[in-house]
Every structure is written in C-alpha cells, then in structure tokens.
Point group: C2
Chain length 378, copies 2
C-alpha cells in the first residue's frame, strides 16, 4: 500500500533530498563537509529570516528547546511561558527541571493569547528574564501572535524572547529579526521536509549577553562551544552528516521557491481543509487555526484513535490523533513536508470515506469540491 | 513540484523496489546474482501464469516482440496479424522486415476483433505459421479477446499464437497456459512497476518446434542461446543486473498481492475513470476499453498535445496524448505502475481542473465523486 504522511512530523521527504542523503557518507571534519555546513547555515539564516547566529544541533527539537533554557537562564531565574498546549507545557517542565521559576499564562487549549496580559505581567514582574512562546502549537493547531509578543518583549532591555518554531517555521510567516525574536528554535522533520534528527536555534546579540552571563551547567548543549566551532563552520561534537547534506539540499529548494511563496502555499492548503471540513459539518478545534497543522473535531461518538489507525490501515494515510486532553477527540493534519495540492485532496477524500465507514454520512466529493475551489482558485 | 506518472509506461517505481535497485551492483556471473535471477524467473512464471520457459532479455519491449518474430518464423513464412492500433502495426512492420508475409486483419482503431474472421482466415490459408495479437493496444486503450483467439489457434497444430502483452500483462487477466498462448511478450515498465530496460518472452513446447526449425538469422535475440544459458539460470549476454534485482522484488510484491487481486484493482480504477468521465460528459475512445490504459476523447476544440503538456506543467502529472491518427484528440491514462486509488482521484481532479482552464466548464469534484463511489464501493 502506498504511504502518505500527514502527521505533523515526521513527514515525507522529497526524492531529490533522499537521493542527496543516500550518497556515501563523508567525514564531518573535512573541508568538503564544512563547505556543505556553511551553505546549510547560510540557508538556515534565510529560512529563519535573520542575520543572527544559527546553530545546528544533532538532536531533535526538544534538544534545541532545552538549549534555549539552559543557555539563556541561570538557576532561580523567573521566566514567563505562554502556554496553550502540550508544547507550551514542555517549556514549563524544562524551566522547572533547571530550577528556574516559570510564570505561566495559560491561554487555554486552542485559544489565542491576550497580549495585554503579557504586557501587564512583564510590567508587574520586571524580574522576568525571558518570555517563552510557541509559533504553532502542534497539539491544537493554533497560531500565536509572535510579532505582537515580540514587540512587547523588545521594550524590556533585560528580557529575551524565545520562540519554539518547531512546527511552524517555514509553514507560517515568521521573521526573526523584524519580530524581535532573540532565540528561535526549529527542527528538521517539519516544513524543512527532512527526516528527524537535527534541530536549530538562532541567537541574537541580546541573547548572547544572557548566555555569556548564565551560570547554568551545560555541556552538549552549550552554545558557546557551538559559537566557537562555527567560526570555522565546524561543530563541537560529531554532526549528523547525512542530515546536514539533506538540509543544504532542502534549503536550496526553499530558497528557489521563496519563503513568502511557501507561507502562501501552506495558507491555501489549510484554508482548503477548513472549507472542506465546514462543507461536511466538521469544525476545527482551534479558535486561531494555524496554516501548518489543522486539528479537526470529530463527530460525537467517533473514536479518534481508531479513526487514525483505520486511516493508516485502509488508506496508508498517517494522520495524527489528539494528545493528552484531546486524545480520541480530534485528528490532526499537517500541511508541510513533501506534499502538494493533490495530497490535500487525497486526505480530504480519505476523511470523507472514513467518516462514511463510521456511520457519519457524507456525499463523497463534497469536501473535495470545496478544497479544489480553494487550491486551484476555480 | 511533485511528479505523478500516469503515462502507459514508464511509470512510477515503488520506493522499496528503488531501494533494492540502489544497492551496490553485483557482477552478473556470480552465484549471488544467479540465485536472484532464478527467483525472478520463477516469479515471472507466476506473473505469466505459465509452466513454459520464460526468458529475460536486456532490451525494451520491442526487442522481445522482435524475438518472437525472428525465432518463430522463417523467411517467406505467412503470419496473421490482428491489428487495431500502433502496436499491432509494429508486428506487421517486423514481419515485413524479416521477409515474411503478413496477412492483416484490421479491426479498426478502438474496435474489438471479429473472431469468425480469424477462424475463416486460418481455414482458408492453412499455410499461416503464426498468429500475432495484442493483449491491450496501448494506443487506443483497447482489450482483445485473447482467450477466444487462443482457442481458435490451438486447433491448428502447425500454427503458433504470439501475444504482445507488454501493456496489459499484470493489469488485465491473461493466462498463458489456459489460453493457449505459445509466446507471450512483456516488458518491465508497465504493470511490473519497474524502470524500462528489460523485457520477457515465454515459449511453449509447440513454439520450441518452430524455433528449432526456424531458418531466420538471429544472434542477440536467439532464444536457443537463452534456453541453454537458463539451464544454469544464466544469460547468454550481459544482463541488466540492477533491473533484475528490482524485478525479483517487484514479483515478490505481486505474488504477495495475488495476480487475481491485481486484475481486480486495475478493473476498479479503469471503471472509476470511465464513470468519472461519463459524469462530466466525456467518452472513452475504445469500444472495448481495457483496464490497463484508458483513452479519453477530449471535447472538440481542445488540443490534446497542449492539454498533456499543461497537465505536466501545471500539476506535475504525466498523462499521454494520442499517437498517429489520434494525435491531439485523446489523452491516455494508465492504471498500472506505482499508483493507488488516491492517485486515480488526483488525476481525475487534474483533468477536471484542466478542462475548466480550457473553457469546458466542469463543477469541480463531479468526476471525483463518481470515482470515489467505484473505488471505495460507497
């Protein structure tokens, strides 16, 4: 059976990138590889829309999230976390683990955050050293107003702004420098269309001051080591060579497409799914739906876990179920990775078929028609 | 742009087969390779539904067609060709090239053949040494009654039955032994889901008598050389090693799926396209449409050549145009190769979109709906 991945990571990898990675492995301390690394880092700066340093870490997204915490904070520091789902909560856990004090603004799962609340909190607690937010909360398919939060934090000279961009970067608009993001975290297995295994973090000048003064113990994730090695486009530890080779190729493709185009493509796919679902009577979970991941609320009485496993079994389609409190209630579809408009049509057809199997009657093609109108402007 | 191949060969190759072929090349005269070849030949016998010899030729389908002519005929022999399109005509050209005399029954492009006409011709011209027919005529998407023709030829002890199964084998029912086919020709780039480059021919006992008595000059395609080498599962000339490795893998997949299932799958896809086209007012070209390839007549005034090139340019979808007298008038879609039900939906959506672009207004999703009903029995 043909496989189609719509999970919000891992995603399908384009053939040209797979082929690039299938080439014989080269040693990570050769001029040949360092040139590849240099090109990859330059590509990442475009992808991040930044002139700041961007580092590659051999580890998955959580490693880069952890790097932001252990480099920017010192034990005992107070940090504000904007949390509206599983990955906001992960920042809270990381901050507690390193004996810092999280101040949490809970927007509620699927809700946008109230910017005035952030401003008030920072005004009332000037000792807050960092603000942690999420570009796209994968667990709920929610987008946050990162630009708005960045403006607020930028007015606080002693506070840095950290963003988890793992699930959103490349899929939704995000401008590191213009939006005053001091540390932006991302991973390979999302809009970069790569296998999982490497992650990234950008660091602003303002953030470097924090890092240089931090008293947090750290070794593998010590960004000062990365900075020193990066002077020669090298890495402090053995790098995942194959993935960096794929990264360069993937970033080349992205540069050619243009980052604004990429955002536009994801916007259209997400709108297509939204309209398709509306036409068959299904709602999105989020009140501020992202263009990277869409969470769809299933009709009452349908078990989302079984729905997902049947989608995989019957149609070879991997869609994600709900996490934690959404388990069994929603299905989640990513719009990134190696997929195109006809894959969006395929997954909508698959959902229609599966709904019928579960007794929720849908005239086949109803959602597909609405999606086609959006995807191809007819 | 993501690529989707619906051309009637070459087709998309499954990832597991591509990976198998990406392995380091082994020498073609090693025990390791000869074992792979043995397994491939055994798989081919299942694919052909035969206990006869089946040979692999390093060359495309036309090489195996030529092998049938130069091995089974002697100069001056009379041979009957059932021709209803470009590939029937190719047999005529081959037969003439080798100084044999073709007797041609022209069914007319897209029409089935009248079996009584074949029977009468063989009765009236008992000197006819061989009958050449086509399982599926790719140029028109037409299926022929091979079983019926085989029954007629089997009653003539001095006449052998040769079938070009290149575009049909694996996609439509074909039973070499039960249907009295003395030589069946096939190629790698169709329902076997492999890249082009190797072809196959089965030879019955009755056909061996012809071959052993043939006075035709031949060397690379001399099947006696292949027979001798095959005793040790070897080849008389250097074999396309990588393709045979892929062939074994592909035949393994087919064995697992079951050949009858495979026929059923193609039948459903072809019916889905037929119903979809009917729902938007388009007819099939053939009066006896095959389940391997469907030829669709475009509305008056639409240039089929441009339509195909736009499908490729706009949607990354390769569909074939018409050949010879059908150039510009039809588009042709294969149902074989690495594609599934959702790809069938995709190509129908693509055709709907392209028709709209060309001013033939179709409510998007109309054909998709009909296809979904057939493909998923809802």
């Amino acid at each position: 059976m043909k496989k189609r991945l719509f999970t919000p990571g891992p995603i399908s990898v384009p053939e040209d990138v797979l082929l690039e990675m299938a080439k014989p492995i080269i040693h990570h301390r050769t001029p040949e590889f360092l040139q590849i690394a240099q090109q990859a880092v330059e590509g990442l700066k475009y992808f991040f829309q930044t002139k700041n340093d961007v580092f590659i870490i051999a580890g998955s997204g959580t490693a880069a999230m952890e790097a932001s915490v252990v480099n920017l904070l010192s034990p005992g520091d107070k940090a504000l976390v904007i949390s509206g789902g599983k990955f906001g909560e992960r920042f809270v856990e990381l901050i507690k683990t390193y004996n810092c004090e999280p101040v949490v603004i809970e927007s509620g799962w699927g809700n946008p955050v109230d910017l005035r609340l952030i401003e008030d909190t920072l005004n009332n607690q000037p000792e807050i050293k960092a603000v942690f937010a999420t570009l796209v909360e994968t667990s709920t398919g929610t987008s946050y107003d990162i630009k708005g939060i960045g403006e607020i934090v930028s007015r606080k000279p002693e506070t840095v702004f950290v963003v988890d961009g793992i699930s959103g970067l490349g899929a939704v608009e995000c401008r590191t420098d213009q939006w005053n993001i001091d540390a932006l975290v991302s991973g390979s297995q999302k809009a970069l269309s790569l296998p999982p295994g490497i992650s990234f973090i950008s660091i602003s000048e303002k953030a470097w001051t924090k890092i240089n003064n931090s008293k947090m113990p750290r070794y593998y994730l010590n960004l000062k080591k990365y900075k020193k090695a990066m002077e020669k486009f090298d890495f402090p530890f053995t790098m995942a060579v194959g993935l960096v080779v794929g990264l360069r190729k993937s970033l080349e493709n992205i540069k050619q497409e243009g980052i604004e185009n990429l955002w536009q493509i994801h916007r259209r796919r997400a709108l297509a799914v939204k309209n398709a679902m509306a036409s068959i009577g299904l709602n999105l979970f989020s009140k501020s739906p992202s263009d990277a991941v869409t969470a769809i609320v299933l009709p009452e009485g349908i078990d989302g876990e079984k729905f997902c496993s049947d989608m995989r079994k019957d149609f070879g389609m991997s869609v994600a179920g709900g996490q934690d409190k959404l388990k069994g209630k929603v299905i989640r579809i990513s719009h990134f990775g190696y997929q195109d408009e006809f894959d969006t049509i395929a997954v909508i057809a698959g959902i229609e078929l599966m709904l019928n199997k579960y007794g929720y009657k849908v005239e086949p093609g109803t959602g597909v028609r609405e999606a086609m109108k959006v995807l191809f402007s007819i």
